[in-house]
């Protein structure tokens, strides 16, 4: 069976990633996302001038 192709575009300037996955590997990929730490939350606070 042909693998699915997954292209991930990042926001932080990294080059896009091309991954090839079986169904089982895709489930593991989704689980990895679930376990990933939360990104820092943006705030509306204005940095104080030093």
């Amino acid at each position: 069976m042909n693998k699915m192709k997954v292209i991930i575009y990042h926001l932080d300037g990294q080059n896009p990633e091309l991954l090839e996955m079986t169904d089982d590997e895709h489930a593991a990929y989704l689980q990895m996302q679930t376990d990933a730490p939360q990104l820092p939350q943006a705030t509306d606070e204005t940095p104080s001038a030093d």
Partner: protein
């Protein structure tokens, strides 16, 4: 085409009933296992269908796959875009897979997956097209998940099967199938 406008106690006419566009065909709930065939849903009575999926949970994170009938053949062509809550983008594609990736995500977390799937002509002797839109219930996952594709054969299907990926088991998944009156 008139829009039905019913009053209390009114006798429904055939014309009024015939003007109703969407009919509930069947509901089902999946509570165990890694796949389940939903039988007796596609027929000559309807050409196009809507499947509403809700309350989705599983023993671990997994994708919700769909196969028409139960036969495992490499006839599924699909592609999808997922947009993460943080703004990242993921494209997923497969040519000649053995099932659709609906884009649906099930998880063992507290949130529950849900979405809609549209199918065109699964019971006619031609290719079947599908479009699916799901919300990812994981806070670390991707949010908007929009997938489309087609089945590259002319099989006349009467059923479909929902499957998980990676041997993950369903905990609960509510399914409602509707037919569009032509």
């Amino acid at each position: 085409m008139p829009v039905p406008d019913f009053s209390p106690g009114e006798v429904l006419t055939a014309a009024a009933m015939d003007s109703i566009g969407l009919w509930l065909i069947k509901t089902d709930t999946i509570t165990s296992g890694t796949s389940k065939e939903i039988t007796g849903v596609f027929s000559s009575a309807y050409k196009n269908y809507k499947i509403v999926v809700s309350n989705g949970q599983s023993s671990g994170a997994t994708g919700l796959r769909m196969r028409l009938g139960t036969t495992n053949t490499s006839v599924y062509y699909w592609s999808g875009i997922s947009l993460g809550y943080g703004g990242s983008q993921t494209n997923e594609t497969q040519a000649g897979g053995t099932s659709f990736n609906t884009g649906g995500v099930l998880t063992s977390g507290g949130n529950k997956g849900g979405g809609v799937i549209e199918l065109q002509m699964p019971q006619q002797a031609t290719t079947t097209a599908f479009q699916a839109q799901f919300a990812d219930p994981r806070t670390n996952g991707t949010g908007a998940r929009n997938y489309t594709g087609f089945v590259n054969n002319s099989t006349q299907y009467t059923s479909f099967t929902f499957l998980t990926e990676g041997g993950v088991t369903f905990t609960t998944l509510d399914v409602a199938i509707y037919g569009y009156r032509n």
